[in-house]
């Protein structure tokens, strides 16, 4: 709910037409952020996937059948961020400097109100104690703390990498980081270059250009949550399916 305009606005553009659903982004993300391996009984609704690849088919037959894969992570809403206002003990906030929406597991008491409030189903709860296969604790990424049972977690644009970049910059006497020094694990891992991460506030950045492009759209734009994750597609049916179009309101179309 912070009113100050961030100097940076980190965001992401995901080209749906480039995504072939290989899942590398999810794997990279889970490894980068020490997302625990929950037991199999978790099923599809009790797991932990900071970025989740949805697969949607147009239900048509060959040769017209088509499938779209939509990676959905926290959208880092920039406006009336739904999860920030509801948290009773300030475990969620928006970084005034870069617009990243945080989730602090050590502050969270696990009431899950934020999950209920999130329209993107992008928040995940630790229903179990975090599990890793026997003996793999020393393979964890030292830059990100594992979450304990009973708290909510979600994508924070690989903030561990942001820390590392800041440290590197500081060791060279810079207080600000260069754009190329900070990239999310999913963007780095995507074999198709479908994910572009960067500073939306920097008009010359590739991510800003793509986000401003004609093919870009936001998920559930009509909710007015101002997500900082944009999607691209040339396929009409995908756009119609994924982008919620405003309904006519008292005759006039609403936007």
């Amino acid at each position: 709910m912070t009113k100050t305009t961030p100097q940076k606005r980190y965001g992401m553009v995901i080209d749906i037409d480039r995504c072939d659903g290989c899942g590398a982004c999810m794997v990279a993300c889970s490894l980068e952020n020490n997302v625990s391996v929950v037991p199999p009984e978790a099923g599809i609704h009790r797991g932990l996937t900071w970025i989740r690849v949805y697969s949607v088919t147009n239900e048509k037959e060959y040769p017209h059948s088509d499938t779209a894969y939509l990676p959905v992570s926290c959208q880092h809403c920039g406006n009336e961020t739904p999860c920030v206002g509801v948290c009773p003990q300030s475990a969620v906030d928006v970084d005034p400097k870069n617009g990243i929406v945080s989730q602090i597991p050590e502050r969270c008491m696990g009431c899950r109100y934020c999950m209920v409030a999130c329209p993107y189903h992008a928040r995940y709860f630790n229903w179990w104690d975090p599990v890793w296969p026997e003996g793999t604790e020393h393979l964890l990424n030292p830059g990100v703390t594992p979450r304990m049972r009973g708290v909510v977690e979600k994508c924070n644009f690989c903030h561990g990498r942001h820390h590392a970049a800041q440290e590197r910059a500081a060791s060279e006497g810079r207080s600000e980081i260069e754009p190329n020094e900070y990239q999310t694990a999913c963007a780095e891992a995507c074999p198709n270059g479908a994910i572009t991460f960067g500073d939306l506030a920097d008009k010359d950045s590739e991510v800003a250009k793509l986000a401003a492009g004609p093919e870009s759209f936001q998920l559930l734009k009509t909710l007015g949550t101002g997500p900082k994750v944009y999607y691209l597609t040339q396929r009409g049916w995908v756009r119609d399916m994924a982008a919620k179009t405003p309904l006519p309101l008292d005759g006039q179309p609403d936007d």
Partner: protein
């Protein structure tokens, strides 16, 4: 009265205590500490601490051999990244490569030698005893067996290690058997060339058209570089991808043109395309005139393809004649690459299908042409430090049934799945024994009589593979980034302990030897991952310098060579194959007389290391997102489901004469009517264990007649009454 005094005083004491406690920090501190305790209690792992070291290596999990940057803390890898600018992988790492380090701790890793006793029970034995047992078996075999009675199944032939195997086998008159991998079919093309042919590669990146018979062109075929260049929007400079595949794979969905071919009719389509090329005179007349040995004449290629008119082909393959013509013309319009795919689960195409497919390359004059088939110069791999007879390398399909009495399976990752029945057919029925040197339980080897666990790719030094699309030869090493556990042992060491006559060199000796010969060759250049640039080999003064570069994650790549196409046979030299080509129009007979109602097509997911285990994190994610359905799911189209009376989520049993598996029905309108697709390989249940025994994998179902091809399995699909 006294009673009430006591009560009042007690109340007073308690009250005072309460007030006193409240006035001390203890309770508040307690409250705070409890909260802190919940923040770092022991049910949550501790993070590794210490400075981060960066090292470079290559991925040994499959033959693509991507370059890796490894961040370690206290000797354990805590992060794996791609290497930008890498000549082969160009910064690309697949999901498996990212998570591969977790395989070393995989629940299905074998942590001690095991043997199957007389009672059929598997139990652990000491390493020494295991080796002694292997030695005894070797002696039996040598006394009893003829040629090829001892065999090694090598999932990645062509390595220095493979040469050591062949030398070891040479002394025993044994057979060196190629495991399945995606570039196996290229040897069919080599066999079509007249006289000795060099190693061949596919120049996918520069091709104008890619004609893929079910190859995973967009799912990590070959090096990452090719993959990343082929994916995405249809850019003009990008090859036009024609995917010929029955299953709506990710590649099929993403290809420029997807030909959903009727199951098992690839041969017919290939010859149909050839028909168009020949009849419309679109082939490379010059080359054909000079080099083709079997175009004309009775039983010649021209006569063969003449019978495959687009109309007829269209009836069999289900692809309309116009499209066939269109594809043929596109194909002939420039350099093209033909890839007869090998599926990690579905296995290779039939020999005749591969031959027919490659005959298109020859027709198009693509062999030796940039953007087509390129030759790699041999570089130091041919000779061993010590001389000696080498056993020759054969395809599993060509091994005579029942000939193997002692099969040793090399443990390297990245091998594709092989049906149990096929392996069993090759074994001697009475005393055929299987010894597995794999670090994990692999479904094809679940019955291994003896298991001696070896190291995983991240723990041992070895050669990284040369991807199918690499135009030149290369040498990169998998530099160990974590300690090998004491129970694991290098396969060569096992062989050396049981070797009677020959002396088996260590893997390091072998690799160093090749490195030195490469240095002597003074060809090519070396890529330095830490700088991200290549320098000519000649700048390396001593062979030690080169070795140091390689052992710190460097990659040597050969200089490209020109290669002019030798004389060739469009139908190959093998009479049996030629014969089957001529009979290709006859309806493919079902494997046995067994009446069936549905066609089972097993397939394997890419970057899931064949039938090996899956890193827990991948298993978890695919399970939670249902992005990859494992062998517990069967995909059919709504129509088939309707005909058989299934709805989404039903439990069904898929039966063949060999057995049955139970699956959950999933509907997909893109699937062909009458076909059911079931994935082979690691379950996403538990932590992604490899299949733990017979009867739970589709590959236990095919009977593998027809030239060891198991893509198309006649089966029944029955409801499971629970």
């Amino acid at each position: 009265m006294g009673f009430s005094v006591k009560r009042r005083d007690f109340l007073g004491l308690v009250g005072g205590g309460a007030v006193g406690a409240a006035l001390s920090p203890a309770p508040w501190k307690g409250l705070d500490d409890i909260a802190i305790w919940t923040q770092n209690w022991s049910w949550k792992p501790r993070l590794p601490r210490g400075p981060v070291e960066v090292a470079f290596t290559h991925c040994g999990l499959c033959h693509a051999g991507c370059g890796l940057k490894v961040r370690s803390v206290g000797g354990s890898p805590v992060g794996v990244h791609g290497v930008p600018g890498h000549p082969l992988s160009a910064g690309f790492v697949c999901a498996l490569g990212l998570a591969g380090r977790y395989l070393s701790y995989h629940p299905s890793r074998i942590v001690e030698p095991t043997i199957v006793g007389a009672d059929g029970q598997r139990r652990g034995i000491p390493f020494k005893a295991a080796v002694r047992q292997l030695g005894d078996w070797l002696d039996d075999t040598r006394s009893g067996g003829g040629h090829g009675s001892v065999a090694i199944l090598d999932n990645r032939p062509g390595r220095m290690r493979s040469l050591a195997y062949r030398k070891w086998l040479g002394a025993l008159d044994g057979a060196h058997i190629k495991g399945l991998r995606e570039d196996t079919p290229i040897n069919r093309l080599r066999a079509m060339l007249d006289g000795p042919a060099p190693e061949l590669g596919l120049d996918i990146a520069r091709a104008r058209t890619v004609l893929s018979f079910g190859a995973p062109v967009l799912e990590g075929l070959g090096s990452g570089e090719a993959g990343s260049q082929l994916r995405g929007r249809s850019d003009s400079d990008k090859p036009y991808i024609v995917q010929i595949e029955t299953r709506p794979s990710r590649t099929a969905r993403g290809a420029d043109l997807w030909l959903r071919i009727a199951p098992g009719t690839e041969t017919v389509l290939a010859l149909g395309l050839a028909n168009v090329l020949v009849s419309e005179g679109l082939y490379d007349k010059e080359i054909i005139a000079q080099q083709a040995l079997d175009l004309d004449g009775p039983g010649g290629y021209r006569e063969l393809v003449a019978r495959f008119s687009p109309k007829k082909v269209s009836r069999i393959t289900g692809i309309d004649a116009a499209t066939i013509k269109k594809v043929a013309r596109r194909f002939a319009s420039g350099p093209a690459v033909v890839i007869p795919g090998v599926d990690p689960g579905g296995g290779p195409l039939s020999a005749e299908a591969q031959t027919a497919a490659f005959s298109l390359s020859l027709l198009n004059g693509d062999v030796g042409r940039p953007g087509g088939v390129v030759a790699r110069r041999a570089s130091g791999t041919t000779q061993l430090p010590r001389e000696g007879r080498l056993a020759d390398t054969v395809e599993l399909a060509d091994v005579p049934d029942g000939s193997i009495r002692l099969l040793i399976a090399d443990g390297v990752a990245g091998g594709f799945a092989i049906p149990t029945s096929l392996l069993e057919r090759k074994l001697n029925p009475s005393e055929g024994r299987v010894v597995s040197l794999a670090p994990f339980e692999r479904s094809a080897l679940h019955g291994a009589d003896l298991v001696i666990p070896s190291t995983t790719p991240f723990e041992s030094i070895d050669e990284a593979g040369v991807p199918i699309d690499a135009p030149v030869d290369s040498m990169g090493l998998t530099v160990p980034s974590m300690r090998a556990p004491d129970y694991s042992v290098d396969s060569l060491r096992v062989l050396s302990m049981v070797a009677k006559s020959s002396v088996v060199p260590t893997i390091t000796e072998l690799l160093r030897g090749r490195s030195d010969r490469i240095h002597a060759g003074e060809r090519g250049s070396v890529f330095d991952p830490s700088k991200g640039e290549s320098v000519p080999l000649t700048e390396f003064k001593t062979n030690g310098d080169l070795w140091r570069a390689l052992t710190s994650g460097g990659l040597w790549t050969d200089a490209s060579a020109t290669f002019s196409c030798p004389p060739f046979r469009l139908m190959g030299a093998n009479a049996a194959i030629r014969d089957r080509l001529h009979r290709a129009l006859e309806q493919p007979s079902t494997a046995d007389g067994w009446a069936h109602e549905i066609t089972l097509m097993p397939f394997g997911w890419r970057d899931a290391s064949g039938d090996g285990p899956l890193p827990p994190v991948m298993a978890k994610l695919f399970r939670e997102t249902r992005l990859r359905l494992d062998s517990r799911f069967a995909t059919i189209c709504p129509k088939t489901a309707g005909d058989l009376g299934f709805v989404e989520g039903d439990k069904a049993s898929i039966k063949t004469s060999l057995g049955s598996i139970t699956v959950e029905v999933v509907l997909d309108p893109a699937v062909v009517d009458g076909v059911v697709h079931v994935a082979v390989g690691p379950s996403t249940e538990a932590f992604g264990d490899a299949s733990r025994g017979k009867g739970d994998q589709p590959l236990d179902l095919p009977s593998c007649e027809n030239d060891a091809c198991w893509r198309v399995i006649p089966a029944k699909m029955l409801e499971v009454v629970s």
